[in-house]
Symmetry: C2
Subunit: 125 residues, 2 copies
Amino acid sequence: MKKKKGNSSEDYLKAILNLQKSGKNVRAVDIADALDVTKPSVSVALKKLKAKEMICQDANGFIGLTEKGSTLAVKTTNKHRIITKLLTGIGVNNKTAAEEACLIEHAIGEETYERMEEYCKNNNM
Amino acid sequence: MKKKKGNSSEDYLKAILNLQKSGKNVRAVDIADALDVTKPSVSVALKKLKAKEMICQDANGFIGLTEKGSTLAVKTTNKHRIITKLLTGIGVNNKTAAEEACLIEHAIGEETYERMEEYCKNNNM
DNA sequence: TCAGCAAGTTAGATATGTCTAACCCTTCTA
DNA sequence: TAGAAGGGTTAGACATATCTAACTTGCTGA
């Protein structure tokens, strides 16, 4: 990942979910690499996610999503996927679409997300 | 306007352009009302816009857009309009579409904006 | 004429998120 | 076994945007 900084909690959760899918134990450094931020940034962000009971971290530093965190991570990931799909659908290149979807996903609410899902379904996207 | 805060320079320019269109002289308080922020917030924002030569303010406090500011304001307004159109096009209600377009417009670049324009044109939106 | 109000500004604080510097631990290795 | 290397955390600073409090200025009305 690159350029645009200023990640939100959801970006961190999304990254954690993504790393988990790759099968390895997730550590803070992995997240730092994935989001292209420094370790302290991750450390601070994880502290907040713990306070919100979104993640848990064991004695070895391995990070896991709680029920709550997982739900939000999945939701955010789905939003991201749908927005990317819509953008590429109108001709935006894949790379740009994925990057901008990352920013747009924080701007859209439940209603818009649902309309987007319907739109994709109705248009076989 | 309501809810979501954290306006960018572009939001202020857009508001100024919008107020100008209504035909009255634009003052800082008008912007504060339009964006639902306090006078100090506007004062600080305007100072930055002046530093970037986006606006000018006469002895009476009346605010005008410079060539540079006007160009950006128009561009941003167009972005906003197109995004709103696309959102309502997939079934999002007008109010939500307008509010979210305000946030999304800062997330999309030139390429995406052009693709959106083309899409609207090709679909008679 | 003087009090009061509207408009604009500055100062100081809060909230996010990021960075560098520095420090603590643990494990690996020469 | 001592030092390097890797992982994690804290402290302190910067940038952005917002707010409240307080001050200045100018106009208006009794």
